[in-house]
Symmetry: C2
Subunit: 198 residues, 2 copies
DNA sequence: TAGTATAGTAAACATTCGTTCACTTTGTCA
DNA sequence: TGACAAAGTGAACGAATGTTTACTATACTA
């Protein structure tokens, strides 16, 4: 059996990669070679050296300027498309990889999260309790979901520019459009929404 | 003005923290002290040493077993609640911090992402093009959103157990419930959903 | 069964690491 | 103006780092 060998090797490698991932998740950094010694239960640094070399070859780690660092493949989750009837839904090939943080957050410096309350945006699939990622900015274009202060009251709504005037709308037929009496100040634009089940 | 001093200091610190964050985002690791020298444009390692000490005090970095590592505050985005009329929406105090990856992904090893196609779950706020986080498992409880194979066809639906029988439902009145002719095999449970706008 | 690649051990190495000490410069407040 | 804290410089240090070389044990292949 030709594949037997390669699979055994692979599982061991995956095991070790898993141990490194666990370490990384806990410590937010890669273990040093000495630490890998303990993690792997080995006793020669050269063993670690070889293992790391293979992980670099496999594309999970990399070196830049002699420093070891994880690649994006190290973090990313496999992203698959739902092929209607096809089988190879979890096959190794044709996989994309995606890191949620990178995918969702453009500029971390100017972003923050907001826990949504209310049902005024259910039409856009934003429910009570969802968390939206907001990018701080004072300008937005018509159709953007904005965090704004309308006549001193904070709200999360859809920005609509009809000619000269600007107003806010809900995504729920229950609520009427909001026309500012005096001020309408925009503080940020919703870039993404996330929701956890259970 | 008492605050003037502290604010000036803070911005400098924030600047430097920002530079470290930028480095981290690019290299997926913290810069060494020598690298910080370049990043900060300084020329004595001891300067870096002092700066790092302050960042540790401020709670952005930490040491464990003599190794420098970022804290969760280093990564996290501020999470705020929408106080109806209150002002201090972006105030430093009373802030929660949240890392999306940690928040959304429970067990990275057994999780993968799936790009949703179709409108069968719009009732749950899961739209065409959204990405769901799925945890691999073969068992689920009634009400879970599951990735399943029903009579050889892959689908993402709500699992319903009515007594002995098990079937799948949509979250869209357009579609009828699906009762398996022969087989119904569960492959994973949807733990979260994310959607990017624009 | 002999041959050979794979995995691990052991010791030695220069390099880089973070830290400490002593000193200088800058800026603020009384 | 003088005093004092904050911010930065420069050199020196032991300790830990990743890498190399040489050797051993295991296991698959022919």
């Amino acid at each position: 059996m030709k594949m037997g060998v390669r699979n055994d090797k692979k599982t061991t490698m995956q095991d070790r990669l898993g141990k490194i991932k666990t370490f990384y998740k806990k410590h937010k950094r890669l273990p040093s070679y000495s630490e890998m010694l303990q993690i792997f239960g080995l006793s020669s640094k050269n063993s670690v050296f070889k293992i790391v070399s293979k992980l670099i070859e496999a594309g999970f780690l990399k070196k830049e300027e002699d420093k070891l660092a994880p690649t994006s493949k190290f973090f990313a989750l496999p992203l698959i498309g739902l092929v209607k009837a096809g089988f190879p839904i979890l096959a190794e090939e044709n996989r994309d990889y995606l890191t949620l943080d990178d995918y969702l957050i453009g500029d971390p410096q100017s972003s923050f999260l907001l826990k949504v309350s209310g049902d005024s945006l259910i039409g856009l699939g934003i429910f009570d309790g969802d968390i939206v990622i907001i990018e701080k900015k004072r300008l937005a274009t018509s159709g953007d979901i904005v965090l704004a202060q309308i006549d001193r009251e904070w709200t999360l709504k859809i920005l609509k520019k009809d000619g000269m005037r600007t107003h806010l709308e809900s995504a729920n037929p229950k609520y009427p459009p909001f026309y500012p009496r005096n001020e309408l100040e925009i503080f940020g634009v919703v870039k993404a929404v996330v929701r956890k089940f259970n």
